[in-house]
């Protein structure tokens, strides 16, 4: 058992390193959050979602705004100028230290959730528990996105983990309270909501093979209660809030293509159009490919058919449905297996929406990596390997967030460190599989190793060599494009592998049930 004092010791030790990153580069998100501090503190509640003094308007749900209000009260103690609505781009040491400190403090929720999880199953050794705690609190993606780039994800993932923990340990109502609260902090978590919904409906509301209305109402009340708390004060302004929360003016992909299916789609379009122009199959008059210009706006594809939001939604839903359907229709006999399948469903839902979603940010991959960390410890040997590859590729795909020289150095070092740490959980003596010696297996391992080697080589080439070549001026987007394409191939493979593991577990379950039935 990892004791609470040990947990505190390790968390504060890791937090010290985050303090060391205070002077690091910060993105415009820093100003976004500073502006929100100002809005929530200086304006009346009803104006929060109308304020447009800055271009960074409030576009998170109300709970997050309440949290910013809470922070802003503390901010006034530190420095009055932080909460001035018109004091745009304020970057004094006070505000930097204050805001970075709030990120570290709010991340304690994640640490606490990790601490809870380390006590989930007793079969793990002390070292494993410690290892899991460390993997959560030193998460490479959060270091890059929260502590350098600047956002509050650590806290949100803490809530997600807590909600999963309570659901896994049989406190479904508390778990759904946490999840509803999470949705009201950041609505992007709606991507994993299907897994939560289906699991709660099938394994909580259905009791003793029939639908338990009381349980259903309990659950519903909990969720509605949280939503009323959150949106209640804004009851007359809901349309305005929703227009802020769900903007549809943006394009299919972000300025840097998040490594998903659409990155591959854009890439194919680009290649085909380049070839087409070379052999003058298509006229070069067409507005040359705006996807590869790094702009955030709606673009049309040159050769391939253009994608509409509805297509991406349909595809996302389609890709999720097999796992959701299976989770609903074929329950296992053991509770532990069901919970494991629930974790897998969360992992799959987030991964599917990342791969097929509309205007996905590269940061969203952390939403897959965090639940996979749990599976890496409670799943099989394959889950550990999947987690390793997933975090390796996923965190690598976050690299373009930090583009100045110090950031480049830090991202590489942090990534290496975390990859090594997560590699160490994979047992050195692999499970003796039957197909271990087959040629197919050997080829797969070789391919995987080659692929894993390609990522650091890609990084070294583009940060050390590329700027000296003459391509660097004419093709500035090339490094980003290749990084994104390279990562999307890996993540697509992870999606397939994750699906395979999901159905494998279901299959094992069925076999077990059959055996039990025979014995009876």
């Amino acid at each position: 058992m990892v004791t609470f004092s040990e947990f505190l010791a390790y968390t504060s030790f890791v937090a010290l390193h985050k303090v060391l990153l205070f002077p690091a580069y910060k993105s415009t998100d820093f100003e976004v959050h500073r502006n929100w501090l100002a809005i929530t503190h200086s304006l009346p509640l009803t104006d929060w979602y109308y304020a447009d003094q800055s271009q960074w308007t409030l576009d998170y749900p109300p709970f997050f705004a309440y949290m910013e209000y809470l922070f802003s009260v503390c901010a006034t103690v530190v420095d009055q100028k932080i909460v001035d609505v018109f004091n745009l781009e304020y970057e004094a040491k006070t505000v930097v230290y204050f805001q970075r400190m709030t990120v570290i403090l709010s991340e304690l929720v994640l640490g606490f959730a990790a601490f809870k999880w380390s006590g989930y199953l007793n079969k793990m050794s002390y070292n494993q528990k410690l290892h899991m705690l460390l993997l959560f609190i030193t998460n490479c993606g959060l270091l890059i996105v929260d502590h350098i780039h600047f956002q509050y994800n650590g806290f949100l993932f803490g809530l997600l983990l807590l909600s999963m923990y309570y659901i896994a340990t049989g406190n479904e109502v508390i778990g759904s309270l946490y999840f509803a609260a999470l949705l009201n902090f950041k609505h992007i978590f709606i991507y994993v909501a299907p897994a939560f919904g289906i699991y709660l409906l099938r394994y909580y509301c259905f009791h003793n093979k029939r639908f338990d209305v009381v349980r259903f109402i309990k659950l519903g009340l909990a969720v509605v209660f949280v939503f009323i708390l959150s949106f209640g004060p804004f009851i007359h302004h809901l349309p305005q809030i929703f227009s802020r929360l769900f903007p549809f003016k943006r394009g299919l992909t972000h300025s840097y293509w998040a490594p998903n299916v659409w990155a591959l789609y854009n890439f194919t379009d680009k290649i085909v159009s380049v070839i087409g122009m070379k052999f003058s199959l298509i006229s070069s008059q067409v507005n040359s490919n705006c996807f590869s210009k790094g702009l955030v706006k709606v673009c049309d594809h040159l050769v391939l058919p253009s994608i509409q939001p509805i297509h991406t939604f349909a595809l996302t839903f389609l890709s999720m449905s097999p796992c959701l359907f299976n989770l609903f229709s074929k329950p296992c006999a053991s509770k532990l297996a069901n919970v494991n399948r629930f974790f897998r469903a969360v992992q799959l839902c987030s991964l599917c929406s990342f791969m097929f979603g509309w205007h996905v940010h590269e940061k969203a991959i952390i939403m897959t990596i965090i639940p996979s960390t749990i599976l890496a410890f409670f799943g099989s040997h394959n889950d550990k390997q999947l987690f390793f590859v997933l975090q390796y590729v996923g965190h690598y795909s976050l690299f373009p967030l930090l583009y100045e020289p110090f950031g480049k150095m830090l991202r590489f070092i942090i990534w290496l460190m975390y990859s090594l740490l997560s590699y160490m959980i994979i047992p050195t003596k692999a499970v003796a599989d039957k197909d271990e010696k087959s040629h197919l297996h050997k080829a797969k391992t070789l391919l995987l190793r080659l692929y894993l080697l390609m990522l650091p080589l890609n990084e070294l080439f583009f940060s050390l060599v590329y700027s000296w070549t003459r391509f660097s001026n004419s093709h500035p987007f090339l490094p980003l494009m290749l990084t994104s394409v390279l990562c999307s191939v890996g993540l697509l493979a992870c999606l397939v592998c994750s699906y395979k593991l999901f159905f494998q577990e279901g299959y094992h379950c069925e076999l077990k049930t059959l055996k039990n039935n025979k014995q009876l």
Binding site: A9, F13, L16, H17, V19, L20, L21, F22, P23, A24, E404, P405, F406, M409, L410, I413, I414, L416, M417, L420, L421, Y423, M424, T428, K429
Partner: protein, 521 residues
């Protein structure tokens, strides 16, 4: 067994990358003299040397002239530093000629340039310092295999070399303040590692190279000399002469190679007069040595002439160095060499003339060699206070956050990787008292002895905790309160006095360890 070996390898690599993370995280901070027109600081000095060495012919490097104003950060380190600057300067020229343009580049500052400069430190670190630490590490690992220690020994062994890599002093000065101490100190570590392997020729040349990078390595020259004198006298005549010839060839050849371009009378005197400036004061800023610490009570600077002071310093330094040096000459073992290196360099720091705050790094790096289970308490205390003693300097560079955080991290690592303060105190006490108790063993009963030991352990543990607390108070005080107008340096002086006290205590402890105990290191 195989499995633990593999795991240890992963852990070692993880530690290596972790230490690189610390370095780059600190390097995000400001450097000495950032934006401080017209003189800037050590960062500008290093950049200026690149400018000079790239643009001027060699014989002009150390010479005052219309193109090389020595009053503006003239080169004052031996030739190896100049060569290093030349290499960095060539790379800088390749990337952006503006960085090293003669005259026009003075005070050049930009984010890219800052990154470039930090990267040169990192490259030097990897090539010299990390290599040196790996040499130490592999030697210790091989030795433990030969002696067949328990399965947990690799971890303990690794911890020793970790001390070199996470010691905040070097990281803060090189990556924060900005200097290349890692090169000279790395060469020194390498030379000791080579002497450990009985590679006297390579060891000596490496030490000469360290000397030729920074003259401050002279702090270590006396013990090296005594070690070899002792060694040679232990051997028979033919063997002795052979060793003497080998060492002589090593020293002379290294010096010739390094000084080759300056081997005419005029250039050589130029270099020497630059490298050893006489006529600077007893100390410049507040430094944690004896002369500065007693200054509030006894003003040496005002009472004595400068030349008298130089003599006084020389005499006291030599007198305090004699006990350990004599011991080493009589018993020239590696254990005694390491202890003497520490004791003598600390005496030099405490008593010699014109000492910089940064010179504490020299005994500090030597202290890393002395880490063992029994001595972990004094070693970590000394290393911590060596950083504290530099804190006024670091705070001036705007590195207060980094300094305090790195100190916390260091203490935490000592606790996590090694043991708690209580355990440290226990193992320290039991070894210190071992030799004593044999004399009194008959007089005191075991029960009483045990009670005494417990009491002492509690006192020592709490004293150490008090020391940690005081050190942090000393660092936080200048951040919270501004000093009274009459004594602007009062906090720095406090820090120096307290640190000097701790250093004196450490000096006493390690002299005692060397002369009166047989702790193996």
């Amino acid at each position: 067994m195989m499995k633990t070996q593999q795991k240890m390898t992963y852990l070692s690599i993880l530690h290596l990358i972790y230490s690189m993370f610390l370095r780059w995280a600190v390097s995000l901070g400001s450097y000495s003299g950032q934006g401080k027109y017209p003189m800037y600081g050590d960062y500008e000095a290093q950049r200026h040397w690149q400018e000079i060495t790239v643009n001027l012919p060699m014989d002009q490097w150390y010479k005052n002239s219309t193109v090389n104003n020595l009053l503006y950060w003239g080169l004052d380190y031996p030739p190896l530093t100049a060569y290093h600057s030349w290499i960095c300067g060539q790379v800088a020229k390749l990337i952006n000629p503006e960085w090293v343009a003669l005259f026009h580049s003075r005070g050049f500052e930009s984010d890219e340039h800052k990154f470039f400069m930090r990267a040169t430190v990192f490259v030097a670190d990897i090539l010299v310092f990390y290599t040196a630490v790996l040499l130490v590490h592999t030697f210790q690992r091989r030795q433990s295999k030969a002696s067949g220690d328990g399965p947990e020994s690799p971890q303990v062994l690794f911890s020793y070399s970790m001390f070199f890599l996470v010691y905040p002093g070097i990281i803060l000065i090189d990556y924060g303040h900005f200097q290349y101490n890692n090169v000279s100190l790395g060469l020194f570590i390498m030379s000791v590692a080579m002497l450990d392997r009985r590679q006297n020729f390579i060891g000596t040349s490496l030490f000469c190279a360290a000397l030729n990078y920074k003259q401050m390595e002279l702090y270590h020259a006396l013990p090296m000399f005594c070690y070899f004198v002792g060694k040679i006298f232990k051997l028979n005549i033919t063997q002795g002469v052979k060793t003497l010839v080998i060492l002589g060839v090593a020293v002379i050849s290294t010096f010739t190679v390094v000084w080759a371009p300056f081997l005419n009378v005029e250039s050589a005197t130029n270099v020497v007069s630059r490298v050893f400036p006489v006529g600077r004061g007893l100390y410049e800023d507040k430094v944690a040595n004896i002369w500065c610490a007693v200054s509030p009570f006894f003003k040496f600077k005002e009472i004595f002439e400068n030349s008298t002071l130089v003599k006084m310093c020389a005499v006291t330094t030599l007198l305090t160095s004699i006990p350990s040096c004599l011991h080493l000459t009589l018993k020239p073992t590696m254990r005694n060499l390491k202890l003497t290196l520490f004791n003598v360099s600390l005496c030099f720091f405490l008593f010699s003339y014109h000492v910089h705050e940064k010179s504490i790094l020299i005994p500090a790096v030597t202290a890393c060699f002395l880490y063992c289970k029994e001595l972990s308490l004094p070693v970590s205390l000394f290393l911590h206070f060596s950083v504290v003693s530099m804190s006024p300097l670091l705070f001036k560079d705007g590195l207060a956050l980094q300094t305090i955080v790195m100190c916390c991290i260091f203490i935490a690592i000592v606790r996590f990787e090694f043991s708690s303060t209580g355990e440290q105190a226990g193992s320290f006490l039991s070894t210190i008292t071992k030799t004593k108790t044999s004399k009194f063993a008959k007089k005191v009963s075991t029960k009483q002895k045990l009670a005494m030991f417990k009491l002492r352990k509690i006192i020592l543990t709490n004293l150490t905790r008090l020391a940690w607390l005081v050190s942090f108070l000393l660092m936080l005080l200048p951040l919270v309160k501004s000093p009274p107008a009459r004594f602007p340096d009062i906090f720095a002086l406090f820090t120096s006095i307290v640190s000097c006290g701790v250093f004196l205590l450490c000096s006493a402890i390690f002299h005692y360890v060397q002369l009166c105990t047989d702790i193996q290191i």
